[in-house]
Symmetry: C2
Subunit: 441 residues, 2 copies
């Protein structure tokens, strides 16, 4: 039986056995898939330490749901043990009233740490950092530094990255616990430390912080305030989570939907519909352009009905070419391979790519079209349209994400559906202008 | 002047000044953007240690390009200092002949480490792990363990995660350097270690390894062979890189293109076209279905030309709804929120979402269509088609990624363009069947 079956059957013995064999991640994953009301059942069977580990492995949304099913005493204990930054994320999920109540139940020390983090703006470095950071001084010896780490390191989220500060708490260097452990005990921290130290401002966007951690291969990044004083540290596990969230947002937008706020299975049918309806409505309004364009060319259509047959093919191909270049450029921007100043470079490359693709498709389409309609001129119209639309779509698809970024939007809003819809109307105009010219209408 | 300008002007003094101010990442980024032939110029100006740091921050493709411009002596030194797993990645980029030659120039120890990694299949854990891992024994005291770390830790890629092995080198536990540093020196490693230790097999897919590191918040994951013996370790920085690469592949596929093998700006126009042309051709062949469907209904079209006006709108909307659900499900699969066994659940949810969206769009579209064509029946046809196509597209869009995964493909091949093209033909059939019924043709 699967774990949900055991819970449904209320088979405590078998459930205990399953819990003993499973690892923390498996338990967390299965918990998240149980009906909300049932989640407290297996959770209560876990030993205290294990329960905390499982709780920490849950998504904040699932943490919040689980808390509602637990008794007050357990809740306080769990929250007291969490890292301040994880706790701040959980508080974001709670209704304000509950959060206030729970905050009041924490020890003064943990309460003040959490309150400080919650004071920073959403999505800022301050919100995801851990304020409990072990800093060293340049004039300490390695032995003194190690003693300090042993003394105060127990409550810090990481002791692997150790910022070095001056007497104003300003960042002057950094070293890793590895350097301390491997070095001669009499060396000074100042000699040993890396003076080229990366840091981020407390109000900086969390995605920038995460990307810096990734690109510089860091285990943690010191966070400083406006006066360059050390106030906290962001660890690599938070960076990975942030990058995953940002990527999930990008993928949703590329597909033409607003990002979901919770894991897929925790979002209701109504919630899913809400994330998609706005864009569908925007796009259907944009699509009325195609109705107008076709209305404008209705006479041509009535005269040469066969033109209708190729409408979905030519505009669809344009949409596909546009989606390809839009997603390529969006991703290149996201990972920093392209900058917004690269417009000229992108235009030069993508217009050639588009022309090349269009020329290939035009060549391939000509004969089959000719055999299908038995009219050279129609085949010519379709081929010329494919060439033009592909070039245009590739170019537009690559430029719009750059433009969006310049205007301060997420480039991913230039989604595949958005580009397709835009290309539909343009493609039709191209099609009919070419048709009228070639057919002499 | 920007760094490329300084290089172009061959202004060595100004270039030196720029290099002194810039950090490692900035230098690596600008290097990657220089013309290939010019990259050696600023690189030779760097001090030896710094040069190695910059080299390590480059993408393997850029590393390989840079090596071609350097002299043999420098190359050997750089390669000798790299981590074995990074070196293996670089060797993958080199022409086989060059790789063989360079490998021969390494010291016997580094050569054998690299050769061992290159012996594992591409994309396996073995290919990305570091074989230099510090393992402890359960019967050691903390003091003994620390002494061992100091003795052999210098050459290991990480000493933050320390696997514990038995006398057969089988994994029995793990602890962090943090635990060693904070613990009483007389405690035994066996008491201190975590017995619930995550590990992966050397032939496991690198994406699974990276995802486990992320989900379990690990700094490194021990890698074992088929007999459960410790053979290496994969670190979190490699996990982040792997996840970013996999994500880039997913985004390319979602946009309907094959992933690029190198950074965007390093891929030629021909290379970009090659990554896109296959799918465009597959899709245009699929799109001939729409030509056939329209050909089949040509009489209906000729009789009621006004039906043509709404073709792009109804099939476009279907494509958009399909893209939305396909990308949502693809992402939920990628991050592990959905499993392939969740088909029934997904069908239940997405068919309701699709119906809801379709109903809303149908309601919104009715009046404007009516006013535009002044024909209630046409408005009814358009609305009914939107309702049907939206429901169908959402359902199909969500099922195809699940099906692809079940068949062992990347769910992301069910791209937005692919779903759109598929929905185009189906949508047309729905449209004409409804039109014929309502209009009594």
């Amino acid at each position: 039986m699967t774990m949900p079956d055991l819970v449904a059957a209320r088979d405590v013995n078998a459930l205990n056995e399953w819990l003993n064999k499973a690892d923390t991640l498996e338990i967390a994953e299965e918990l998240g898939r149980l009906p909300v009301a049932d989640r407290a059942i297996p959770f209560r069977l876990l030993a205290k330490d294990r329960a905390l580990e499982v709780f920490e492995a849950l998504d904040p949304f699932h943490q919040q749901e689980l808390l509602e099913g637990l008794r007050d005493v357990n809740v306080r204990e769990l929250l007291e043990e969490m890292d301040p930054d994880d706790r701040a994320r959980l508080f974001d999920e709670m209704p304000a009233k509950v959060a206030k109540q729970v905050l009041a139940g924490l020890s003064p020390r943990e309460r003040s740490l959490t309150a400080r983090l919650l004071g920073y703006p959403e999505n800022s470095a301050g919100r995801v950092m851990s304020p409990e950071v072990v800093n060293l001084r340049a004039n300490q010896t390695v032995a003194e530094a190690l003693a300090r780490v042993r003394r105060i390191g127990g409550s810090a989220e990481t002791i692997y990255a150790l910022p070095v500060t001056d007497d104003q708490r300003r960042l002057v260097g950094a070293l890793g616990l590895r350097d301390l452990v491997l070095a001669d005990p009499d060396t000074s921290v100042g000699e040993l430390m890396d003076k080229e130290v990366y840091s981020a401002r407390v109000d900086q966007d969390q995605e920038e912080v995460a990307r810096l951690i990734q690109e510089a291969d860091l285990l943690a990044l010191p966070i400083v305030d406006t006066e360059e004083r050390l106030v906290g540290i962001v660890t690599v596990d938070d960076a990975m989570r942030i990058l995953e969230e940002e990527q999930t947002e990008d993928v949703a937008r590329i597909g033409g939907a607003e990002p979901l706020e919770h894991p897929y299975l925790s979002v209701s049918v109504l919630g899913l519909a809400r994330s998609r309806v706005i864009w569908l409505m925007v796009l259907i309004v944009a699509a009325t352009l195609t109705v107008n364009v076709l209305g404008f060319f209705e006479e041509t259509l009535a005269a040469v009905v066969v033109l209708t047959l190729f409408i979905p093919l030519v505009i669809g191909t344009g949409g596909n070419a546009g989606s390809q270049s839009a997603t390529t450029v969006t991703r290149a921007l996201a990972v920093g391979e392209l900058r917004t100043t690269d417009v000229a470079l992108v235009v030069l490359r993508e217009s050639r790519v588009g022309f090349l693709l269009g020329a290939m498709l035009a060549a391939i389409a000509f004969l089959p079209t000719y055999f299908f309609v038995e009219d050279k001129r129609i085949a010519l119209v379709v081929s010329l349209t494919l060439l033009t639309v592909c070039t245009l779509a590739t170019l537009v698809g690559s430029l719009l994400p750059l433009l969006a970024r310049r205007l301060g939007f997420d480039p991913a809003v230039m989604s595949a559906p958005f580009i397709s819809t835009l290309i539909d109307a343009t493609g039709l105009i191209v099609y009919f202008v070419i048709a009228r010219t070639v057919l002499g209408l």
